[in-house]
């Protein structure tokens, strides 16, 4: 009587490897929020470029500067862009402070500041800073 040859298979030799989906970030709510958060970078970039444009204009003399102020005050494109950028950058700030609470938690002895309080405190700082910026912008 012949005995069947028994071969111990190597683990994994017939594993099925699932392919990674190309558009993965629509699959979960957490992934979508992540993408939204990362997208705020576009508005950080665009507005910072606006500030850079202004600084360069100022360094190039009165004509260049007045042209920049004119666009900043009257361009509809800038108006809509600034509004959208404002909300996206606020979202950036909030999510940034949420991340901050995770990476560098604030501790007073045993008490750890909860994330919501950490974010609220920092957003309060943003308001105070905005008031200072306003003071210098309006004519302090």
């Amino acid at each position: 009587m012949s005995t069947r040859e028994y071969r111990v298979p190597e683990p994994g030799y017939k594993d099925y490897n699932p392919p990674a989906p190309e558009i993965w970030w629509t699959k979960r709510r957490g992934y979508l929020l992540f993408m939204l958060r990362e997208f705020t970078a576009i508005f950080v970039l665009l507005f910072t470029m606006r500030l850079l444009q202004g600084v360069i204009a100022l360094s190039n003399g009165a004509t260049a500067w007045n042209a920049w102020v004119e666009t900043a005050s009257n361009s509809t494109f800038i108006a809509i862009g600034s509004l959208i950028a404002f909300f996206f950058v606020l979202f950036h700030s909030i999510t940034w402070f949420q991340a901050g609470a995770v990476v560098t938690p604030l501790r007073f002895g045993k008490f750890q500041v909860p994330t919501s309080l950490f974010v609220a405190g920092n957003m309060g700082l943003v308001v105070v800073v905005a008031l200072v910026i306003g003071y210098f912008s309006i004519g302090g």
Binding site: P11, D15, A99, T104
Partner: protein, 247 residues
């Protein structure tokens, strides 16, 4: 009394005869306290003895029963049928090669856990007659959370970076490295840096944060990774500015 029944759509894969996974639908009776794992046990006992899956403690401490339930990595012993409306899809844990039915190949994960050197590393071992290491409650708090990992791999299943880049060291392994780096008895951060701070280590992570979302034990591996990024970046900065200094 009418019996409640639910349909489970379960992934089946027989490496001897299939080239790709398929699904099989089972209908199971359930009560308020029936978990997905109980449903799988019922299927194996009564309907289909060929169904293959892993489980052990059935109470959320061993980490064996992780699977994708309706697309979300869950511990099936902690996932109740009553919480789902409609049919329930049970798939093998995401991002891992499938060995058979619902059992995945854990080798990559196991290998990475070892490579972070998850033990106390000392420059000089403290001799026994010098007594035990003393640790204050505050020192324990610094790493305790990260020691709670049950190696269930749900975080790897949830991580989109690991989904695309199998080289990524991954959440649980880095959280484990962090647990030792933050232990006051340990002196091994520099030794772990080579692996943890490598280009396939913390620097692959983009802080999506889903790993911490799905973690059943509250380890918060995302926090561990970001903190390791900070200490690793500062270490690199220090060695750049003061190359003669001790790392």
């Amino acid at each position: 009394m009418s019996e409640k029944r639910k349909k489970l759509i379960v992934t089946r894969y027989n490496p001897e005869s299939d080239t790709a996974p398929r699904t099989q639908v089972y209908e199971v009776p359930y009560e308020d306290d029936t978990r997905v794992l109980d449903a799988l046990n019922y299927i194996k006992d009564v309907e289909d003895g060929t169904l293959t899956y892993r489980s052990s403690c059935q109470m959320g401490v061993c980490g064996s029963c992780g699977m994708n339930v309706n697309g979300t990595p869950r511990l099936t012993c902690a996932t109740f049928l009553r919480d789902f409306e409609g049919d329930i899809t049970v798939e093998p844990l995401g991002n891992f090669p499938v060995m058979r039915d619902l059992a995945v190949n854990m080798s990559d994960f196991m290998e990475k856990l070892t490579r972070v050197k998850p033990w106390i590393i000392r420059e000089k071992e403290k001799p026994l007659d010098e007594g035990e290491y003393l640790q204050t409650p505050e020192q324990l708090q610094a790493y305790r959370q990260f020691s709670l990992c049950i190696n269930c791999m749900l975080c790897y299943a949830a991580c989109p970076v690991y989904g695309k880049e199998k080289d990524f060291v991954g959440p649980a392994a880095i959280a484990l490295a962090h647990r030792y780096n933050e232990d006051s008895r340990d002196e091994g951060r520099a030794e772990r840096n080579a692996f943890v701070g490598s280009t396939t280590g913390v620097w692959e992570c983009t802080f999506v944060g889903e790993c911490s979302e799905v973690c059943p034990e509250g380890v918060d591996p995302a926090a561990a990774i970001q903190r390791e990024k900070l200490s690793n970046a500062v270490d690199k900065l220090k060695s750049f500015i003061l190359p003669w200094g001790k790392k």
